[in-house]
Every structure is written in C-alpha cells, then in structure tokens.
Symmetry: C2
Subunit: 397 residues, 2 copies
Amino acid sequence: MFNYSKREKLIKPSAIRELAKLIQDPDIISFAGGMPAPELFPLEEMAMVSSDIIRKNGGKALQYSATEGLLDLRKIIANRMNRFNVSCTEENIIITNGSQQGLAFSGKLFIDEGDVIICENPSYIGALNAFRIFNPRIIGVSMDENGMLMDELAKTLKEYPQAKFIYTIPDFQNPTGVTLSAERKQTMIKLSEQYQVPIIEDNPYLELNFNDGISYPIKSYDKTGNVIYLGSFSKTLCPGLRVGWILAPQEVVKKYALIKQSVDLHTNTLSQMEIVEYVSRYNYDHHIMAIRDLYRARRDTMLKTMAAEFPDSIHWTKPQGGMFIWVTLSETMNATDVFNKALEQKVAFVPGDSFFPDGNISNCFRLNYVTMDENRIIEGIKRLGQVLKGDEVRNNV
Amino acid sequence: MFNYSKREKLIKPSAIRELAKLIQDPDIISFAGGMPAPELFPLEEMAMVSSDIIRKNGGKALQYSATEGLLDLRKIIANRMNRFNVSCTEENIIITNGSQQGLAFSGKLFIDEGDVIICENPSYIGALNAFRIFNPRIIGVSMDENGMLMDELAKTLKEYPQAKFIYTIPDFQNPTGVTLSAERKQTMIKLSEQYQVPIIEDNPYLELNFNDGISYPIKSYDKTGNVIYLGSFSKTLCPGLRVGWILAPQEVVKKYALIKQSVDLHTNTLSQMEIVEYVSRYNYDHHIMAIRDLYRARRDTMLKTMAAEFPDSIHWTKPQGGMFIWVTLSETMNATDVFNKALEQKVAFVPGDSFFPDGNISNCFRLNYVTMDENRIIEGIKRLGQVLKGDEVRNNV
C-alpha cells in the first residue's frame, strides 16, 4: 500500500538510540548514551520559573510564537556568544529544537544528492544520519590529539573544491573528546576562505571546559561570515526542553527560518520563556561551573581507573572538557565483541564503527563519564578492564 | 559564499506568517492568523502541573526521552481516538512537534520530485508549503458545502493512479470551515483502497464540533490501514507546547520515528508530561466543551453580523465547528485589493489565493472568528462590510 519516497531508504537508525534498547536494565553500568547528569538539573528553580511564567504570562507562553524564536532569548544568546569573541546580534540567531534540528536544517539547506561534505573521522552519529538523508558523499578527515589534521583537510579541499561544507565539532568533540587547537581553528578559517567552502561548527560542549580560561570557537575567528555555528542548552541546562540555536549571517538565518516555518512553525514557546527567565533570575554561570566541577571529577576518576585497570596495549584520549573519552584497542581487537562481553558483565559503551562515515574502523569505542556516579564509574571500568584483559589474553594465544 | 541546495528555491514563506508582520499593530482587528483564544488556556492548572512535575520528576522531565514520545501520552491519545471509533493502541502513535511536523515528515516519507499528490482546492497553506519543498505536482479537487467532490476525486485518481497520497482536512476544514460528509468519508476510503493511494487525514479541529454528537474521522472507517491520521493538542489545549501526533499502521510509525530521530531526536519531554498530567488530573472534556461554547458563540456573532453588513453578492460558508469562515466575492473582485482597503480601516484577514495549490483564484478570503472577542468581531465585520460595499459600488460603476 505505502509507496515511499526514494529517500526513505537513506534514513538510518542511530546506533546509539538502537543500543539504548539493549541496555534498559537499570543494573547495567552504562557509559553509552550522551545524557547529561540529571542530578544537576536546577529543579526548584525551573519549577518556580515555569509556574510563574504560566501564571503571569501564560496567554503568550502557551500561544503560537515567532518562527525565529523569542527576541529575548535570541538577545541572551547573542550576548553570551559575544563573551566568546563572536560578534553577533539577535538578528544572527534562530532558535531550533536542540542543535540536532540545526544539523537537519543544514543538510536540507546545502546538500544535493552526491554533494561532498567533509567532517572529522570519526564524527557525531546524529550529524552523519541527519546529513545522509540527503545522500551526500561524506569524506572523513583524520584527527590527532589536537583535532582535525589541517594538511589532510587542505588536501581534501583541493580534491573536492566543490564541497558543500566542512562539518566540525571543534571543542571536546563527540565522540573523541579531542579539541581543535586555536592555531588549527585559524587555519581552518583560512582554508574555508581560500576554497569558499563554509564551516558548520557544532559546539554543544563549548562551555563544559575543565580548564581555566575560555575555549574560543572557530566562529570567533571568522571575519567574513563563513561559519555557521550551532549551539544548545542541552548540555548546560537540560536537554528535555529541546532548545538550541543556529548563529549565522542574517541572509542565512532567513533561509533557516523559511525551513523551520515549513517544518514545525516554531520551537516550544514556554520552554524558550523558561530559559529566558531562568537565565535572568539565577546565576547561570554558577550553574555551569557546578556542571564542570562534577564532570571534571568524574573524568578524573574514569581516567585514573582506566590507567590502573586497562591493559597497556589500549590507548585513549584525555579530554579537557565535554563528556566523552575515546578508546582505541589494538588493531586485531573488535569493539563490538568487547561490547557483547562487557554487556554480560553489565557494563555498556558505544562501539565506535558507526561514528566513522565509512564505518570501516572497528577497534574503537566511546565512553561517557558524566552520567554515572564515581562509584559506578570505578566499578564499571574495573569490569571493563577484566573483559579487555580476558579479550587480550585470548588474542595473544 | 553559500552554495545552497537546489531544494532551497522550493522553500516558500507562508503567506499567513508573512502577513502577521503587517498586522502587528494591536489596534488592528485581526481575523487573520489561526491562533486559538488564549483566554481559555488553563493557566492555573498548567502552572500547577508544570511545577509539580519538575519538582517530583524533573530528572526525567528535563532529560532526553524516547523518539516515539512518552508511552503515557501515546496511551492517552490512543484511548481518546478509540472514542472516535478509531481502533488503535499506543503502538500506532508517534508524538510530533505539532501536526505541522507530521505534514513535513509525510512529505519526506512519500514525495519524490514530480510525484502527484491530491488535496482539497483550497487547502491549508502550511501543508502545501511543507509538501512543496519535495517538489511534487499538487492537484486540487473542488469542494462544495459537503467537502471534496467524490466524482472529481475519482476522476483525478483515474488520471493519476500513481498519486502518492490524498491529503485532506475533513472536519471544519482550514480554510473553508467545511466538513466532509460521513458518506463521502466512506467513499474516499473506498477510492483509496481501489487505487491503493493512502489518505493523509489532517484533523486538528475534530473535537471543536459545535453540534451535538461526534464527527467521526475518516480513519474511523479505515479497515485496511490506508489512512495516516494527524492530530494535535494545539487547538484543544494550547499551541505553544508544540505537541501533536501521527496515528498510523505500526510499520509506518517506525518509518516516521527514524525520520524524527534524525531531525530533532524527540519532542519536548516536559511538555509531554505536562499534557499527561493535565489530562489525568483535570477534566479535559469539560475544557474542550468550554472552547466549543465560546467558539460557537463567536461564530454565531460573526455570521449574524456578516448577514447584516455584507452586500448580497458575497457568499460565505457556515462552519459547524473549527475556527474559520470562507468568503467568496463576486468574480470580478480581488481579495488582496479588499485586504489593502480593509487594512486602512484596521481590519485584517487572509486573502485566499495562497490556499489554492495553483494560486489562481483571487476572489476569496478566510476569516478567523475565534481570536477576537464579540465586540471586536461586530466592529470588525461592520468595517469590512463598509469596505466591501464601497468596493462593490466601484465595481458597479
């Protein structure tokens, strides 16, 4: 009966979300998923803000609102981005349903079938899937501990000068936890200008920086308007409200607004007002500081336990912020095999293959260190260490 | 710098939303737009529900949640649809960001470039724009006071048996206010089965029925799973939360879920819990009854004033529910000219041309009778009557 469109075949399930169904047992120590620690959600504050807004201004809060988002929220975001050396006003901002919607819109706005897009290798699964529905050719560029390799990017741009965009998660990347160095951020801007290929900068973890000082986004180095920046409240306030933003030149914001109009009219009005009121009434910076402190402690615990429990042949990243550690096994090992054995020990993570555009590297996996408390981190990593040692022994036989 | 996709050219602004910018002056009596009456939003109830949920269950309410939507909400919707003789369970339901998202997803799931889709002539602008981005050929089928003409639909299906779907708003249609008769609903089902062309039934106004008894949706006559039904809380509770649903065979729900996953992960968790709690704790039926009573009274006032104030040459529909009256001027008159003159008198409506897939009929316009109070309705219709009489006089000179 149902005769679907051709693109229906291009719509892939997210490996992470499919995995989530396997690990619903609450006894499982899960380092999979990308959920922020719920114990830091500002419940009392959000409860007060929410009821106050509905009582005082509910006729507006529960009504249809502007496609671009509420002006007050767009101003707050613009001011906040100014702190990160991004020059912009509310006219450069459109509110989206989380930054995932910004990714989907970017695919829709830029990608025709067969177009080349460039990203890190590995990259965020949700972005790859959002883009794949438009049937692009996705070229991954290798990374080291300072992010995407600029000589390889230059080579790729030379080979594909018609590429539609460079997609990057420069700070505390998902899945690797790696940050693109300031020097490389500036090089990427230069290459973008030279080849006239825009950058889509996805930066949901920017404020989850564990060190002193500010990590400046690529957008802060952008003088010619080549960078489209995607931001989110999901990691610094809460994801359930689904509020993110796109920051772009005004002409591009207008295009995104037309897409949003046709797709879902506008983002939840009440949620936008809740965030405006929360940020105005409480100390949002202090709240983010508390998240950083907790996440830093959990990262330390996980890294320390990994150093003690994991066999020597295994390597991993040392993230300076964000939520993830990336583990690389010896080349003969398979992360999905390890996953299956770990699951028997009630420990879970995300096997890495689906983070690679080509899906061709099978000896990596991603650990989330923020959702579990420190005791469970220690216990889970110990069990995982046992699995890895057992696996390694077998490989050496 | 920005080299957009080919589809970017297909993304059209909504005439209604563009109009909204013209009529921001609060002195304007606006019968444009499709906003529910905010004075009926259950503010105190929603304020209580909202703060209670965040306090008691905020770790869940503010966290990521399932792509398909919350199970409790899907059950509530399934039960409610059962009342309308629709046999379904929660497995047939996926939550969307308003039914606009259901429209956009349906375009994505079914339409390839050049495919034929069939709709009422006129139809909902937002649906036309959601579909146009996929570059279909849209064929409008004429209507009378009982909705789409079934002999014309049969002829159209015979001419285009490969049509991807029939899109219809059967009850209290936007923009005409007309309802497809029960007999024609059954005929449409038969034609859908005969030609194996599914129906997309968009029914946001179903419960806003001004008469006694129930208006049964097309889906209630569907025995073979040919109908995909789109519903919404926007018109019966509030639109600001952006919560709607798609009701479809399970295999199709799974396809929609994959789309939603790639597009925005899931709908706002808190909003879904707010609706579950509101419906569980309060008398939602009673609330809808109050909306119906208010809207019926406003319809009566508008119709009565139109009968007294509009010249005889002008015709209009007599809606039995919903939010809109459709006005047809004599063929020599132009609704956009009338709009411009009305705006000088600080009265607004939506000229009808953009509701027609071909945009070729220019002597109709849409009036919303629910957003303004009765005094403003009377005053606005009087002014509009003056404009129409003036216009008519000039046409007769």
